[in-house]
Symmetry: C2
Subunit: 396 residues, 2 copies
Amino acid sequence: MQPDLSDLDSFLDDRGAGGYLVYADSEDSTQRYLSGFDAPDPFLTLYDGEVHLLVSSLEYGRARKADRPATVARHADYDYRAKLEEYGHDEAGDRITAEFLAEHGVESVVTPEEFPLGVGDGLRAQGVDLEAEREGVVDDIRAVKTSEEVEHVAEAQTANERAMARAEELIAEARVETGTDAGSGVLVHEGEVLTSERVTREIEMELLRHGCALDETIVACGADAADPHDRGSGPLRADESIIVDIFPRDKETKYFADMTRTFVKGTPNDTVAEWYDLTQEAKEAAFDALEPGATGKDVHDAVCDVYEDAGWPTLRSDEATETGFIHSTGHGVGLDIHEGPSLSPRGGELEPGHVVTVEPGLYDPEFGGVRIEDIAVVTEDGYENFTDYPEELVVE
Amino acid sequence: MQPDLSDLDSFLDDRGAGGYLVYADSEDSTQRYLSGFDAPDPFLTLYDGEVHLLVSSLEYGRARKADRPATVARHADYDYRAKLEEYGHDEAGDRITAEFLAEHGVESVVTPEEFPLGVGDGLRAQGVDLEAEREGVVDDIRAVKTSEEVEHVAEAQTANERAMARAEELIAEARVETGTDAGSGVLVHEGEVLTSERVTREIEMELLRHGCALDETIVACGADAADPHDRGSGPLRADESIIVDIFPRDKETKYFADMTRTFVKGTPNDTVAEWYDLTQEAKEAAFDALEPGATGKDVHDAVCDVYEDAGWPTLRSDEATETGFIHSTGHGVGLDIHEGPSLSPRGGELEPGHVVTVEPGLYDPEFGGVRIEDIAVVTEDGYENFTDYPEELVVE
């Protein structure tokens, strides 16, 4: 994929800067996106209308085979060893980078916000005019997906749905046991207590079978589910809400997907049942508001309206609340699991090609938590939700 | 685990700085180590003899339950919303951080090299005296493992050995087929061509069963194996070297392990056979040199001596060589797969508690590659190699 970097060209023109400089490994998505090169250790990418890499000898062979870079240089081209002896590791690196920039006729560079401060100050000491931008110019470019990128997310989402089905199947197949060592009302599957950890492992196995991996999954029951970032642990219990939030990454394309469902094995209490209906309503309200020209804030406000009208607190009505709707409505998904645009109070204008989650939810340690999350792409005339998974609270 | 941060205290005293400031999510190992808190989005850690966190409302509940922090504050405590409206997202964040530091009586801070430049410059604009250190003071502390940390690495290594056994088993069980669609001499297992991708998947499944995960594995055959960072792809072939390099992370403790073996199904050519013997010799020479008081450079030199004496190039004898021994001898392993200390030309003094890989290897696209890697901890009187996996080039 060759990304459309014309917005970066304009940005550099406006700033009067000679280039955009990234120093990171390719786990950094700006680096991966801009360089088109995949390396486990940090390397340097200069964009000045073309992509130029400066890499270690170890990466040189592979980097030259990558199709994005116009040029590839290596440390040894700049007499690295002599500099290492004379100046030590850090200053040697800075001097080489300064020479590399000079060779490309670049005197001033803009970097991402995340550029390492130590390297930035080191380059300044070598006379490089260097400034970090905090607008997220590459983030904004990355937020607008090509159809190829949308396809990558959709593929990861297909794997995600298989994994969610596996999780739901385990809960469905489980029996509710009374009087186990783990307490009463515990789910038991094939003779063993069904824990968050066991469901998580089955989810991961299923994802691996479909070419995806993940670092974290949330399978959180009861009070665990009341904390949106709690991954969950221990036995799953009947009659309590179980939040399953899966965000796998395709191992080949490196694009993420994201989906959440909430289940109750047995009978939800009245509050959880009400929350579920309300959250479905809130999700619908969000999708009604999701279209090009609307802002992320509009979509978020639509969710807050539903919850506040029903009498539940949100961070909009009380910025210090720890119960109710205590996170934003959604986020972009791509090479990062959290990227632009934001469906939140600070969410700007939505554009066709934006891939976003819509994930309203309500939380209280007393009742647990409920969250429902789909993933969709903004289109010319609205959106396309490419989540194809049922919404059923009660699992029989 | 409560890390021993007395070296950080001395460092801050020497610098005359009031605190050490980290802004990162807990995928950043300095953040995880210092804060003892696990969060997927960036948060702020101030160390001034005690650990103080500044987190979003979303993380507040979990952060207060963490056992390391002495204090936990949240953005809402600093009137975030009003500042957001008046100053926008970035400056609002900087102002809150500046207030948070002032509240702790801290006027000047040192940060890790990787601190985000945009935030660093933003804080400077708010009057914070801030400087990145490039000595890696926390890296050096992290490099010396407690017995608990060594145990974490050893546990991940046990899982690693199971996964390696699974890979070797697949190669052993495979038959060599002539005249398949994938060409002659291709390995076939249970009726299907045995590819790098398939072996990788089986490795990952085995690791998951033992509580570990990994982002990348290297299963590289022939010319792929000649590039130390090539992950490998496509069918495995008989009579060519197959490098299997597995670096799993324990999902619970977050500590890594690392091991490499090289296999040939069938008959290695004379060069690969010679390389294998030499690499065993080089590994032995490295271990002979591995002890407290020796430097990482000493260990690396021992490997270079073996290879150069046998007539093969190294980066020491030719810094631009693309064949021969073209990487360093080893690296520290802990919360990061690559961390201090370094067994390389820039490797400093080794100390008890350092956990390092020893991984000599030789490479040439014409013959493929050979690498053998163990993992060990430096002890008071030498080292303890906690790799327990045979070294057999030829797999029958």
